[in-house]
């Protein structure tokens, strides 16, 4: 079952995901990701879009899959991978709608997404999730296997197939346009302590 609801309310997912699976994931949900995810970040995205422009196949079929924005450190002897936390997702915004058109269902990174990606998530029924930014050592413990499948010359930016087990993430942008960061920060903001120009009411 691609989406499993645990007793404590967390959800466990495993790709490939369908539209129906994605609809069960709401902003703020804590999700454990298991199974295969594809590691790809800046340079790999640029090349994948160039392949599409040239009419050539991608290193993997994105339909139903999850991309993890990560460039791991080299593995020490005896380990499957080095540190492997997420990188900033918004740098991939320029490339993301193309991949969503091809059926990509999930992305894991850190930080916010721009309006074009949020719209595309709604249009294509997909989800953006954040892992613990800067928690690279902890993330490594949830990764069971890695295999470079394309662009080896990019070193840390090569495309990898990763086998993960219960990698904890939270849903930031769901397929209904919600943004967890906005929801989570608002109650803690103390506008009265800020200069007038920064108060939310004053922002143009």
């Amino acid at each position: 079952m691609p989406v499993e609801i645990l007793e404590d309310g967390r959800k466990r997912i495993r790709a490939p995901l369908s539209d129906e699976d994605v609809r069960q994931l709401a902003a703020g949900d804590v999700v454990l990701v298991s199974g295969v995810v594809y590691a790809a970040r800046d340079a790999a995205h640029k090349r994948m879009i160039e392949l599409l422009d040239a009419g050539e196949p991608l290193p993997f079929d994105p339909a139903g899959q999850i991309i993890y924005y990560v460039g791991p450190t080299p593995e020490k002897p005896g380990h499957v991978i080095g540190s492997a936390g997420p990188t900033t997702a918004s740098r991939m915004d320029r490339y993301t709608p193309r991949l969503l058109e091809l059926g990509l269902k999930g992305m894991i990174g850190k930080g916010g997404r721009g309006p074009a990606v949020r719209e595309a998530l709604k249009r294509h029924t997909a989800v953006y999730m954040a892992a613990l930014g800067g928690g690279g050592a902890l993330a490594a413990l949830q990764i069971r296997g890695q295999r470079v499948i394309a662009f080896e010359d990019l070193g840390p930016e090569a495309v990898r197939e990763l086998e993960v087990e219960d990698l904890p993430v939270w849903v930031v942008n769901d397929c209904e346009g919600r943004d967890y960061y906005e929801q989570a920060v608002a109650p803690w903001r103390r506008d009265e302590a800020l200069p007038e120009g920064l108060r939310l009411g004053a922002r143009g």
């Binding site: 460039g71 080299p74 080095g82 900033t88 930014g133 050592a137 967890y180 608002a186 109650p187 803690w188």
Partner: protein, 284 residues
């Protein structure tokens, strides 16, 4: 005038190599303490959970198997060379880069530097070149501070040439706006380095130097220290919190450095450091 002291460049290489490895696995003690202080003060339950995870991440990294963060950084080197030192055996910049090369290979650290920014963007595969700031100072010692600076938080830095009439309120607003816009992308809670004064380029270097101070150590000028304390309160009033999931601990410290400037200018630069603050110093 002092005697000239000869220092073999290999000693510089060794210091840089050791520091690169050490700092990427073992977060400095002042940073460990700062995260623990934030954990005690954080009012948001999710924020406390995140800070607990960061403490576990520190402990796990310190065991030496996995670096604290997969982004093992730009290698930034601040080197103060005593004017009575004569470096022998290699060029200073080659000696530093060789230390980076060895440290990143032997330490299983990620190589994150591309050789040119706009054409091939080919990874140099050894994390060189280092980004080096050299000063010639009195004395016969060499002080080397290495910083592994993450790219995600670096990207959120901002620079502005304000008008003198903008004054302290203009600086305040610029700092707060920069922290607000960085939001989750800069991996809060971190340190905010602010450089005010100098000229176009000095403001940015001051901001970076501000990050090299012990975390939370106030500026010696009480007026600057008071401004730091206000900025600290106000950054935290933004409510961003750990990982931008809401909370009272958005920043661990704000450090401001100032210097002389032109009658026409008020340069300001903000350099953001994430919670993966990794720096260390050696004196030769």
């Amino acid at each position: 005038m002092g005697q000239v002291r000869e220092v073999d460049a290999a000693e510089i290489t060794r210091a840089v190599r050791e520091l690169c490895i050490e700092i990427n696995y073992k977060v400095p003690e002042d940073m460990v303490a700062a995260i623990r202080r934030a954990r005690e003060k954080e009012e948001s339950p999710i924020g406390r959970q995140i800070l607990d995870l960061l403490i576990r991440n520190q402990e796990l990294a310190a065991e030496g198997e996995y670096p604290y963060c997969q982004d093992t950084g730009y290698t930034v080197v601040f080197i103060d060379v005593g004017q009575d030192v004569h470096i022998t055996g290699a060029d200073l910049s080659d000696a530093i880069d060789e230390g980076v090369r060895q440290g990143y290979r032997e330490g299983f650290l990620r190589t994150s530097i591309v050789a040119d920014p706009i054409f091939e963007r080919r990874n140099t595969l050894d994390n060189t070149p280092a980004f080096v700031h050299t000063r010639i100072v009195p004395g016969d010692q060499i002080r080397i501070q290495v910083d592994a600076k993450g790219g995600g938080s670096e990207n959120k830095g901002r620079h502005a040439m304000l008008k003198p009439s903008d004054g302290i309120e203009g600086v305040r607003e610029f700092v707060l706006r920069t922290v607000a816009e960085a939001g989750p992308d800069a991996c809060p809670p971190g340190i905010i380095g602010v450089g005010v004064g100098g000229n176009f380029e000095y403001a940015a270097i001051l901001a970076k130097r501000a990050l090299m101070r012990k975390v939370g150590q106030p500026h010696p000028d009480p007026r600057v220290a008071a401004f730091e304390a206000e900025l600290f309160e106000q950054c935290n009033a933004l409510g961003i919190g750990p990982q931008s999931l809401g909370g009272t601990q958005t920043v661990l410290a704000v450090h401001v450095e100032t210097m002389a400037t032109h009658i026409a200018s008020l340069p300001v630069a903000v350099n953001i450091e994430c919670h993966a603050h990794r720096t260390g110093t050696r004196v030769i």
